[in-house]
């Protein structure tokens, strides 16, 4: 899903180049380009630097979303922007049910979806949103859950 969030950034990066190409075909555009080439290069570099920073802010936001599954607990770390971080923890013995949800054509094609972990605890449900390979994640959680139960017996 992060790919979809990055599409506008790529389009915004291409846009000034397309505008320059189209502008150069017009008589007035050609005059402006030939009169102010340094300004155009300066603002183009500045624009790309700005987009580059935004691109990495979005990527970092995605990259720092981490799901840790062990045979004792599940820890879901969600980066909610640059200055907000949400950490949820569920103990394996509290898990009652795990289900996956893949909705839409894009999500199906990219194999992305949500994993719902229902618990007996106070929070009742932990939702890991927009995760890659949700079915595989569910299988791993179920396997770890079984291991946890067999260890307790």
């Amino acid at each position: 899903m992060v790919v979809l969030e990055l599409v506008p950034i790529v389009l915004a990066a291409i846009f000034p180049l397309a505008a320059l190409v189209i502008g150069s075909t017009l008589p007035m555009g050609e005059t402006i380009i030939s009169q102010y080439p340094s300004f155009i290069i300066f603002f183009l570099a500045a624009w790309w630097l700005l987009l580059w920073s935004i691109f990495f802010i979005i990527w970092t936001n995605y990259y720092l979303d981490i799901l840790v599954v062990t045979n004792k607990r599940i820890i879901d770390i969600e980066q909610l922007g640059l200055f907000a971080r949400d950490i949820a923890e569920v103990r394996m013995e509290n898990i009652e049910d795990v289900k996956t949800e893949v909705v839409g054509i894009v999500a199906s094609l990219l194999d992305m979806g949500n994993v719902h972990i229902q618990t007996a605890g106070e929070a009742r449900e932990l939702v890991v949103k927009r995760i890659a390979n949700p079915h595989k994640v569910r299988e791993i959680i179920s396997k770890c859950h079984d291991e946890s139960l067999s260890m307790r017996r």
């Binding site: 570099a45 630097l49 920073s53 981490i66 640059l82 971080r85």
Partner: protein, 73 residues
Amino acid sequence: MTAEELNKVLTAIALVSFILFGVFFSVVSAVLNYHWKKYGIEGERIKKVKRLYFGFALLMGIVMILALIVILT
């Protein structure tokens, strides 16, 4: 507006935006670097990302400075 006046306005805009971009980029880079250092779990991957991020930024910075020098002279 004459061509000379327009040139002066554009030069002023370029100078101000260079300073603003410098401040913005420094702050964003410091915050991103802090996050990568503190929360990143794959050391090698983070190193590559840092190289990519700062490499392209340096290139764009050099282009901006050179263009600004040409504008001011």
